[in-house]
Symmetry: C2
Subunit: 316 residues, 2 copies
DNA sequence: GGGTCTTATGCCTTTGAGTTATGAAAATCG
DNA sequence: CGATTTTCATAACTCAAAGGCATAAGACCC
C-alpha cells in the first residue's frame, strides 16, 4: 500500500493550520480539492485521520503522526525548489576547476576565495594539470573548466577558449636582489646567479630554457626544482636565485612576498591565459557564473597591472 | 514552481539503481512511465537532470542533489507506510490510560511495563483519577481508556465496561504483624492498631469506613493518610498499622514488599475492576490491543490468585 | 433556533500516470 | 568495424484523480 507523498504534505499543512479551509488556503488550492484528497488518503489507509464530527477538523493520533512525516516531506520538497532556483542562477552546485599549478596558486586561488565567500553553496574541487591532461578531463566530463595558458596553435579540437589576459613571463627575483640595482642587465650579470627551475614537464620550464637561450645563456645552474609556488617563493626570497614566472603571478605575490620582476624582456611563445571548456557539453550555471566572475576579476587585475606599469615607467 | 515529491522519489530510485530501466523495475512501474515522469520533471525545472546522450542514464550535478532529497522523501514515505501498518495492528500510537491510583500503581503498572516492552512504538500516557473525573475525560476524548472499580449501579451513560476481575478489598498489614498469629480476629484485637487511610475522596476510603462499621468499629485512629501506594507500602511494612487495599494489590505487592492480608471478611459494595471506554468513539487499535492484553493478563493474575488461595486454605 | 463557519458532495474539465507497441540511439562484443 | 544487445524515448490510448464551481450538510456560537 503506497501512500502518496502529496497527500501527506497536504495533511501536514491542514494540521499545521488547524483546519481544512485554512490549509487549503495555505496550499493555494480550493477547499473541496483538499477535502477530496484527504478522503482519498483516509480510504487508502483504511483508518480515520480526523476525529469524526468535529468542525475545526482535528487530527487523530494517526493523523498527527502522519502529519509530522508529511512536514518532513514538505521541507525536503521546499529545499529541492530552493536548490533548483539557486542552481539555475549558478549559486549552487559543484565546480570542478583545473589549471596549471603556478598560475592557479599565484593568481586564481585568491579569486576562488572571493568567489567562494560570495557563493557558499557552490562546492569547488580544484586540481592541477597541463594542457593535455586537462583537455582529457574536460572531454570525459571529469572537469567543468580549466584555467591555463594556451598558445594560438595549440588549441585542442572541440574546446572553447575564453582569453583572460596575455601570458607574459618574466624573470623574477627577491626584492633588493643585486640585479635590481642595475640599469641595464647583461648576460654576464645573470650568469652569476643560480636558477630555480619549475617542474620539467611544465610550459614554464620550456619557457625558461627558451628565455635563457634567447639571451644567449646556454647552461644554467639549477639549485632548486620541483616545488610548487609556495616553495618557489620561499627559496626565491631567501636566496639570490632567479626564476621564470608569469608576470601576473609576480604581481599578485608581491602583496605578501617581497619579489620583483627584472626589467628584461624575455622571448617566449605568445600565449593567452584563459578558460578552456568543452564545446559539446553545455556549461552548468555555476560554471558560467564562475567564468563571468573570472572575466571581471581579470579585467580588474589587468588594469591594476597596467596602472602599476605606467607608474614604474614614469619613475624608471 | 512546485516540484512533485513523487518525481523526486522516482529520481532517487533511478539514480540509486543506476539507470532508468532498473529504476522502473524497482518502482514496479513500466519503463516508459518513469521516462515520461522524468521528462516532465526536467521540463518543469527547466534544467537537465541527466547527462545527454549517455545510455546508462547518468545524473547531472543537479540531478544528484535532487536525488538525495528524493531519497529523504522516500524514507519518510516508507516510514509513513510502516506507521500505518503498525497503527492498524495496534502496535504504534498513543495510549492514554487513566485509573484509580492504588490499583494502577499496584497492579496495572507492572502489566503496562510488560506491554511497553513488547510494543515499544506505543507511547503511554498514564494519569490518575476516580470515576467521575475519568468518565469526563473519556467523554471529551482526553483519555482512551480508564481502569477502575465500578459498582453495578454506578455505570455511567454512554460508556462500555469490560470487567477484568472482582474488586475484593482486604485489610492489609505487614508480614509478621501480631494479628497474623491470631486464629480468629476479634474487634478488640484490631482496636489496638492505628490505621493508614487512603485519600479521603477515594472509594477505598469509603470502603474503609464501611468495613470498620461492618465489624462494629466506629472510630479509627488514623496515623497516616494521603499517600500513594509506595508510601502506604513503606509505612505499612515499617509499622504495625493496618489499611484497606484491593486483594490484588496486596497479592502483587508481596512480590517485593512483605505484606499480608488479614483473614477477615470485610463487607463492601460488590464491584468489578475493569476497563471503561467511551461508547460513541471507536477505539484506536492500540487501545484495543492493550485491552485484549489486559484481559489475558488479568486472567493469568486471577488464576494465580485462586491457586494461592487454595494452597492457603489447605494449609490453614 | 437562527446565523455563521466549516466541511462534504455533485458535476464538470483537464492533467498526468500508466499501459503496450515500437523506434532510435548508445554500449558491448566478436 | 559491424552486429547484437541494452537502454531510453515516443506514439496512441485508457483511466484515475486533481482541481474548479456551486451547493448541500453539518458543527458551532450566541
Amino acid at each position: 500500500m503506497k501512500i502518496e507523498s502529496e497527500h501527506l504534505e497536504i495533511l501536514a499543512v491542514i494540521v499545521e493550520k488547524g483546519g481544512l479551509t485554512d490549509g487549503a488556503d495555505a496550499l493555494g488550492k480550493s477547499q473541496p480539492s483538499v477535502s477530496r484528497s484527504m478522503n482519498l488518503l483516509e480510504s487508502r489507509i483504511g483508518m480515520p485521520l480526523f476525529e469524526p464530527g468535529r468542525r475545526p477538523l482535528r487530527p487523530t493520533q494517526l493523523g498527527q503522526s502522519l502529519a509530522r512525516l508529511g512536514a518532513r516531506i514538505r521541507t525536503a520538497n521546499q529545499e529541492a525548489s530552493l536548490l533548483v532556483r539557486q542552481f539555475r542562477q549558478g549559486r549552487a552546485g559543484l565546480l570542478r576547476v583545473g589549471g596549471s599549478p603556478i598560475f592557479m596558486d599565484g593568481v586564481v586561488s585568491t579569486m576562488i576565495a572571493d568567489f567562494q565567500s560570495r557563493s557558499q553553496d557552490i562546492q569547488i574541487q580544484q586540481s592541477y594539470g597541463y594542457l593535455d591532461e586537462l583537455t582529457g578531463k574536460l572531454r570525459n566530463a571529469a572537469l567543468d573548466l580549466a584555467i591555463l595558458p594556451v598558445q594560438p596553435g595549440q588549441m585542442p579540437q572541440g574546446m572553447d577558449f575564453m582569453p583572460l589576459m596575455s601570458g607574459n613571463n618574466v624573470i623574477a627575483c627577491r626584492a633588493g636582489h643585486p640585479l635590481t640595482h642595475h640599469r641595464a642587465i647583461t648576460l654576464g650579470d645573470i650568469d652569476a646567479f643560480p636558477w630555480i627551475s619549475p617542474p620539467m614537464d611544465s610550459p614554464l620550464f620550456r619557457d625558461l630554457e627558451r628565455a635563457l637561450k634567447s639571451i644567449g645563456h646556454e647552461e644554467m645552474r639549477v639549485t632548486f626544482s620541483g616545488g610548487s609556488l609556495a616553495s618557489i617563493q620561499s627559496v626565491l626570497t631567501g636566496s639570490d636565485s632567479l626564476t621564470v614566472l608569469p608576470y601576473s603571478v609576480v604581481f599578485m605575490s608581491r602583496r605578501t612576498v617581497p619579489l620583483e620582476a627584472l626589467p628584461l624582456k624575455i622571448d617566449h611563445a605568445s600565449r593567452q591565459l584563459g578558460v578552456l571548456t568543452s564545446k559539446d557539453r553545455p556549461l552548468p550555471p555555476a560554471t558560467q557564473h564562475f567564468i563571468s566572475f573570472l572575466v571581471t576579476e581579470f579585467q580588474r587585475l589587468q588594469s591594476r597591472m597596467d596602472h602599476e606599469n605606467q607608474v614604474t615607467m614614469r619613475r624608471g
